[in-house]
Symmetry: C2
Subunit: 359 residues, 2 copies
């Protein structure tokens, strides 16, 4: 089955959209803690900009004492930091929603785990000098186009996204390397943001401008898009998508895979959460009726995913069954049985079904 899928996708990736390019990893091919760059999902909103590194500048503007325009050489001369951080598209798993929702029909592969090297955003902001009124930092990419959903701003806009100041000066990296090599164009060359523990929507690619604001920012990609409804005793309020939700995914078996009856099968996958440890992963081989503890592999790395496995004693009787996995983290957060409709087509982390045939 896995072989058949690989043949369908000789480049190793599943295309969800051709232009702008959107690709996901066939999640069944997961076989390492670090996702190879060429297997790391690509999410683009507008056509990929072509950036010459000699012409590129990172502008820092707004509520700062000293606006900056940094060359790539200047940025790379600053003290660097390397961190292994996983990143998931906020719409990963959308194909599992019923009825079908608008947007790219991601299966399970719009997630990856990479080693990122770059300059802490805090260091750049410190060099510019934050004014006392500083409230948020807008990360703006060089990519631009017309916003697709109404109400949309007039004309072309850049992909952009703000961070509250506390997050911006905490652990955000302005990354120029991914897995030890310069960023590829598809992954944001020359510089992208990496926002540990947050959905990929904040990890702005082709970063070209930082705008420090004194007012809350409600950009298109954190209001009309990449938002959800929160209820706290009051009427629903529209909230930007920020931190990741705890989630385990099964890599193998894949959906529609045929597993051999009466043998032991290695169910395996990955699990991740935000600013906490994965405490436990459980697997159900009967569509959620009973659950069994999986074994966590390797070490826990904050805001990186954790691989896991479970030895399944496959019944000897042929038939159909559905597998599911669910994770619980050290803050005792776990996955819901059903998708929360207030989350729309985002934050999809309920128990995802993998239907297989035993033969």
């Amino acid at each position: 089955m896995s072989k058949a899928k690989a043949q369908q996708h000789p480049g190793g990736m599943i295309m969800r959209q051709k232009e702008p390019v959107n690709l996901e990893m066939p999640f069944g091919s997961l076989d390492s803690f670090i996702t190879p760059t060429e297997r790391f999902y690509v999410r683009s909103h507008f056509p990929q900009p072509t950036i010459r590194s000699s012409a590129w500048r990172l502008k820092v503007q707004g509520a700062v004492d000293k606006p900056l325009s940094l060359t790539l050489r200047q940025l790379r001369a600053m003290p660097a930091r390397t961190a292994t951080v996983s990143m998931e598209c906020a719409g990963n798993g959308r194909v599992f929603l019923e009825p079908q929702r608008e947007g790219a029909q991601w299966e399970a592969g719009a997630v990856g785990n990479a080693e990122w090297t770059g300059v802490p955003l805090a260091a750049v902001l410190e060099r510019a000098g934050l004014q006392r009124s500083a409230l948020e930092v807008i990360l703006e990419g060089a990519d631009q186009g017309e916003a697709p959903k109404a109400p949309s701003p007039a004309g072309k806009i850049h992909y952009a996204r703000s961070l509250p100041l506390a997050k911006a000066v905490d652990d955000v990296i302005l990354a120029y390397q991914m897995n030890g090599e310069d960023l590829t164009a598809a992954h944001g060359f020359p510089v992208r943001a990496v926002v540990p523990g947050w959905y990929g929507t904040a990890a702005v690619k082709w970063l070209s401008r930082l705008i420090v604001t004194s007012e809350p920012y409600h950009g298109y990609f954190q209001s009309i898009d990449y938002s959800y409804w929160q209820r706290e005793g009051a009427s629903p309020s529209l909230i930007p998508i920020t931190t990741g939700r705890v989630k385990a995914q099964i890599a193998r078996p894949e959906s529609a895979e045929v597993v051999p009856a009466g043998r032991t099968y290695r169910v395996h996958g990955a699990a991740w959460t935000s600013d906490a440890e994965i405490a436990q992963v459980e697997v159900s081989t009967d569509a959620g009726a009973t659950w069994h503890k999986a074994r966590l592999l390797g070490e826990s790395t904050r805001n990186a995913w954790r691989l896991w496995e479970y030895s399944w004693a496959v019944p000897s009787k042929p038939g159909q069954t559905t597998l599911m996995a669910r994770a619980t983290d050290s803050k005792n957060r776990t996955q819901p049985a059903e998708h929360d409709e207030d989350h729309g087509s985002y934050l999809i982390h309920h128990w995802l079904p993998v239907a297989v045939t035993i033969r």
Copy 2:
């Protein structure tokens, strides 16, 4: 012409939607400073709720020392205030936009000027006791239904809208009378909010709950709907519709009216703004090429509209021409020649054309 229109609408109103009911005044029938209640536009988002006054309560909740549940009798026993305030639907004039936009195709009659009597919102909040964390006040109506545009919250929501605290304790009235009589069901019986100087979207009808929040509120009717894009050096940011824009409208002649050649015609209409005086109204009878001062009628009343007139010496040569009016207020704000596309289908206050035939 005016007579013909009146025959088309024997009830005196133009229906824009039957259920929920949405009606506008044929603006050509403007003939008084106060809009008669039966000529005052009706904007509903959900089916009109049936409220028995004996069962009605106004709940005051959230960041208050003493949550309240006021009966109508209790509310009416509080000191009352009466103010003449005009109110315009944020989508008034939408039919003039090209290309056509989604939403009710309001012409010029989704605006009115009435005398409102009720209790200052400040007095109710004072009775409940605002906590120090109080930031906004959500006004929630008894009407409910499913939000029409995606992304929408799951299930039914109430019509609701928040005010920053400074506005809430300034001049907002919880009105139970309109033009000296109890509110009609269509206008929000038993109690609606009147928010002077703001578009009608904040004037919540069938008011049933006030929720004092300590966090910014981004409800459906001030984010997905009733919002626009603001640019201030940075990427566009989605802003709730709040204060009214300065605007003059021509009542007569009406669009497509035949005016007698070589005579004097009384062009007249109304003009309004927000928290300022109407300083000047000008009329163009040549599609905006030249402008002539109109005469302001009556006295200036803060946040009420002002009637105006202009004696037009109609050319003796038959033909077609286009009239326009524009107002300027005491803060020197005036109307733009073109609609701002960042305002989407709202805040329509550019020079609106009235094309007539001279014969």
